[in-house]
């Protein structure tokens, strides 16, 4: 295919604004799949993706489209992850395109994530074509939304397409706009190969399969290629495109999007953002923008039953095959035994991995509260990065500590500005900026410790704004902060897995709240259980779980059995996942209690 007939584009949208449905309609309309082959939202492969309505892994599909001018066009759609956790992945997908369809819900309007992704797209000089989706909804207000796009993003909405991916309205216009508004790719066919990896996955027959965009040169079967960041060399065994099933083409030309595979065993060698070049005739430089994997949050994952330790390891290794962003290493906890410290791109990433471990590998797990990475500067001049409160050096060895801050962008209707500011201040946020997107909607920017974001910031925003707030954030940098470790003692013994790092000014109230919450969560047992919160050796809060009431002599005859059993079942509810910590049985929720205090 000639470059002038190729269009590479992605779709950017907020969750639930109809990105995946629109992708489905495009596939259907261009006849890439027959209706019979279409499962709803074909591009979201994982059950989890379909359930949650989110895209976790990028997917691509090549659409063959006969334009109104009679020419045949090759349209490469790159479906990007739609969540803040995967910002870097999104940026790499966008770097593989010349244009993007911006999908905005005709009733909801612009949201924080829409903006974040649009800014990313603008950074990559993409041609952005707005689509106002869901115009079939009774509450649709396309004119207001157009206005909002112009105000908030400064994008001309003259050519915006009004569409309903659900009913199929506007699909042809969208395809035409892609052909006419998005520029064809550039690049020299004769130049040394430069192909951008924007995702990868593991196939048990072919090894690692890299999703690529050929920027310069071309890829052919049998070529010897090199991964520039990791230095790995491999021979191409398969090269082709997705329709959306992989189709072997034998080659990919300049400007095209597709996949390449070649006996690569480890997905960690094939990094998103890396450049593939020729082994014998390497490009002078890799493509810009590569970044290594940088987890933002960590948590401990432990099997409830220690015999599952090896199964957990196997499961993590299998998930890592397809997810180079997941990192883990063995960890031991006095309270929880042997487990793994796992690093994630963000909270959603963490949730998804936990859920997959439980669902796909049938593991019963205890997960500790997530932690950010603290920079601990010791009195001996050494700096250690601490991602587990239990591993914090003793206070006497610490000179000062730094914690990660993010730039948080919140969009809300103007009536809720006060609520957002109140919560953000309370979360140690530093007000940065406020902009009216239109008469009603406001964009607020704060610098907030990531530590506070992971402690229920978004949940609180949502409830204080009746669900209207949308949030996006990106790492802003590290700042010095007065932080202390709050320990929890159950029955007089410190439980390492319950330790948490908090700002000094909040330590006492957090300690109290945590102890009170644990009192609610830990069920009554045969003896009284004191719960204490401590900073160092100083006890800052104390609660008691009273001893379980002893039975009275009660009858149980023929007529009592069903009723009695139902009472017992009720008593058992929520007791399923308990871990014995010393003499105390602690439910799994307890380790997440810190996230549930208000």
């Amino acid at each position: 295919m000639q470059k002038k007939n190729i269009r590479n584009f992605s779709i950017i949208a907020h969750i639930d604004h109809g990105k995946s449905t629109l992708a489905d309609r495009l596939i259907e309309y261009t006849g890439t799949l027959s209706q019979r082959e279409m499962a709803e939202q074909v591009l979201d492969n994982m059950d989890l993706e379909r359930e949650r309505g989110i895209t976790i892994k990028a997917q691509t599909v090549r659409l063959d489209y006969r334009g109104k001018d009679g020419e045949l066009y090759q349209l490469n759609l790159i479906d990007t992850p739609g969540h803040v956790d995967f910002n870097y992945e999104v940026s790499r997908s966008l770097a593989a395109c010349e244009g993007a369809r911006l999908v905005v819900d005709a009733a909801q309007g612009v949201e924080a994530q829409t903006l974040a992704n649009v800014y990313l797209a603008l950074e990559h000089d993409l041609e952005i074509v707005p689509v106002i989706n869901k115009i079939d909804l009774p509450s649709a207000e396309p004119e207001r939304v157009k206005h909002e796009i112009e105000e908030a993003i400064g994008l001309d909405t003259e050519g915006a397409v009004l569409a309903s991916a659900k009913t199929g309205i506007g699909i042809e216009e969208i395809l035409d706009a892609i052909v006419h508004k998005i520029p064809p790719p550039q690049g020299e066919a004769a130049a040394p190969l430069q192909a951008l990896i924007f995702d990868s996955y593991f196939d048990s027959y072919k090894g690692v399969i890299a999703h690529i965009r050929v920027m310069e040169g071309q890829v052919k079967k049998g070529m010897k290629l090199k991964l520039m960041a990791t230095g790995k060399i491999f021979e191409v065994t398969d090269v082709g495109c997705f329709k959306p099933q992989p189709m072997d083409l034998g080659e990919l030309h300049t400007g095209e999007v597709g996949f390449v595979a070649g006996a690569l065993k480890d997905v960690r060698d094939v990094r998103v953002g890396d450049t593939i070049t020729e082994a014998d005739r390497p490009a002078k430089e890799p493509l810009p923008g590569y970044r290594g994997v940088t987890p933002m949050v960590y948590c401990g994952i432990y099997p409830v039953d220690s015999v599952d330790y090896d199964n957990l390891k196997d499961a993590l290794e299998k998930l890592q095959l397809n997810d180079a962003a997941l990192v883990f290493e063995p960890e031991t906890s006095v309270a929880l035994g042997f487990g793994y410290r796992c690093g994630f791109l963000g909270l959603l990433h963490m949730d998804v991995i936990q859920e997959r471990l439980e669902r796909e590998y049938h593991l019963k797990l205890i997960t500790t509260a997530p932690s950010v990475i603290y920079h601990v500067h010791k009195t001996n001049g050494e700096m250690v990065a601490v991602d587990n409160p239990a591993a914090l050096p003793p206070a006497t060895e610490i000179d000062f500590m730094e914690e990660p801050y993010v730039k948080a962008t919140v969009i809300v209707p103007k009536d809720y500005v006060g609520a957002v500011m109140e919560i953000s201040q309370e979360k140690r946020g530093e007000f940065k900026n406020m902009d009216y997107l239109d008469v009603n909607r406001v964009l607020i920017t704060y610098h907030i410790p990531l530590n506070e974001i992971i402690f229920d910031y978004f949940d609180r925003l949502k409830s204080a704004t009746r669900g209207y707030a949308s949030l996006d954030y990106e790492l802003e940098g590290y700042r010095e902060s007065k932080l202390v470790k709050v320990d929890i003692l159950l029955n007089g013994e410190a439980v390492d897995a319950l330790s948490t790092i908090v700002h000094k000014d909040r330590a006492t109230s957090r300690g109290r709240q945590l102890a009170a919450k644990l009192k609610e969560i830990i069920p009554q047992q045969m003896f009284e259980i004191p719960i204490q919160a401590a900073i160092g050796s100083k006890i800052i809060a104390r609660e008691n779980v009273r001893a379980h009431r002893k039975d009275v002599l009660a009858k149980c005859y023929g007529g009592d059995i069903t009723r009695k059993r139902k009472l017992l079942e009720k008593q058992k509810e929520g007791k399923k996942r308990m871990k014995a910590v010393g003499k105390v049985e602690v439910p799994q929720e307890a380790f997440m209690a810190i996230l549930k205090i208000d």
Binding site: K550, V552, A554, G559, R565, K575
Partner: protein
């Protein structure tokens, strides 16, 4: 197959203030109509059982309510029906346990003599306490002396099994008073004792009185002291604790009640009666009026309680068996469910063993004395 019959008599002279059973005072007319319906239910069921070649039950239990609230001729006609329609299947001479619950305030020598003559061989007397003040506090219709007389009378008439129900943690009852109650009960030399802690159920007059602060119950600690006393003292006097709340001289355990804990089948007749037959549990309509109206029309009155799953069956099998001193018979579990107890409940058993609540040997798994105190905690783990 060893199975039992239960007959529910939903009448009493006056409802006790703690009672939440299906029972109420009835008129002579209601009682007559009820017994008539009962006889019909028994007849129809008897025919069905005969057709299926079911062997006769080994135990019969008439409970309530107060069976002896019925005029004696009505109660005798119920027994007569059972004899004709259900027990007639019996092979001659076979030993059978036949219990009637008795309220000491409802019977005289002639009443009990007629029961004896009709083949009743076990009486369970609702004594509760011998302290008249306490009996009044809980709305009983008899005094302590009447109860003692009824026991003596039953023994004189030659009932081989006489059981007393006692209660503790009653309003106004101290450990001291309980000790006197127990001493009095033992002086009467019953073969069997059932002991229950008072439970204040919502909707009872007692519940309201407690809520209004008109009645003060013993504290949790006092109640526990009474529990400790009962469970230590009674066995020391030869009444072994063969189930959580039941004590008997050796060989005098209630066979009917043992059936409930050992997975035996039973068929219940009368309003609100429960049945357990071929692994399913049923309950008859609890509305006495509806029962009386439905039976002559042959309308169904027996409803399944719920869909019995394998998990439910296992849970019930275990927690019921664990109520007994003998405990859970591993071989019987295996035989019934085709899987070993350890495979299903190994983790639960170990957890409770570590807490000192369970012990096991090769054949049985049972509660420790501490486990009996925390029985519900252990049982919940099996559910």
């Amino acid at each position: 197959m060893s199975w039992g019959v239960y007959v529910h008599i939903p009448f009493c002279r006056r409802k006790c203030w703690y009672c939440d059973f299906v029972s109420a005072p009835g008129t002579r007319g209601q009682m007559t109509a009820y017994v008539k319906a009962l006889q019909r239910e028994i007849k129809i069921e008897g025919r069905r059982l005969r057709e299926r070649g079911v062997t006769p039950p080994r135990t019969v239990y008439l409970g309530g309510g107060t069976p002896t609230a019925l005029p004696v001729n009505l109660l005798l006609s119920v027994i007569e029906s059972l004899r004709e329609d259900i027990l007639a299947l019996t092979a001659e001479g076979e030993e059978r346990e036949f219990t009637v619950e008795v309220n000491p305030g409802t019977v005289d020598a002639s009443y009990l003599a007629q029961l004896k003559k009709a083949g009743v061989n076990r009486l369970s007397l609702g004594v509760q306490s011998f302290d008249d003040g306490i009996l009044q506090n809980i709305g009983r219709i008899h005094c302590g002396e009447e109860a003692a007389e009824a026991v003596t009378l039953a023994q004189k008439l030659g009932f081989p099994e006489v059981s007393l129900d006692l209660m503790y943690a009653l309003p106004g009852q101290s450990l001291d008073v309980l000790q006197k109650d127990v001493a009095r009960a033992l002086s009467l030399a019953p073969t069997h004792l059932s002991v229950y802690g008072l439970q204040v159920e919502e909707g009872t007059p007692l519940f309201q009185q407690v809520a209004d602060g008109k009645i003060i119950l013993p504290s949790e600690d006092e109640a526990e002291a009474m529990y400790d006393y009962l469970t230590n003292f009674l066995p020391s006097q030869g009444y072994s604790r063969y189930e959580i709340s039941n004590f008997a001289l050796p060989g005098h355990e209630s066979r009917h009640n043992m059936g409930y804990w050992q997975d035996a089948s039973y068929i219940g007749f009368g309003a609100a009666a429960h049945s357990y037959w071929q692994g399913e549990r049923y309950q008859n309509t609890a509305d006495v009026g509806a029962y009386i109206a439905a039976i002559p029309q042959d309308e169904p009155i027996r409803e399944p309680e719920e869909v019995m799953t394998r998990e439910i069956a296992m849970a019930e099998f275990c927690f019921l068996a664990l109520r007994t001193a003998q405990g859970l018979d591993k071989e019987r579990f295996r035989h019934k469910f085709g899987v070993s107890l350890a495979e299903v409940y190994g983790e639960v058993i170990n957890g409770n063993k570590n807490k000192g609540l369970l012990v096991e040997n090769e054949n049985f798994c049972r509660l420790t004395p501490l486990g009996m105190k925390y029985g519900n905690m252990v049982f919940a783990d099996f559910c």
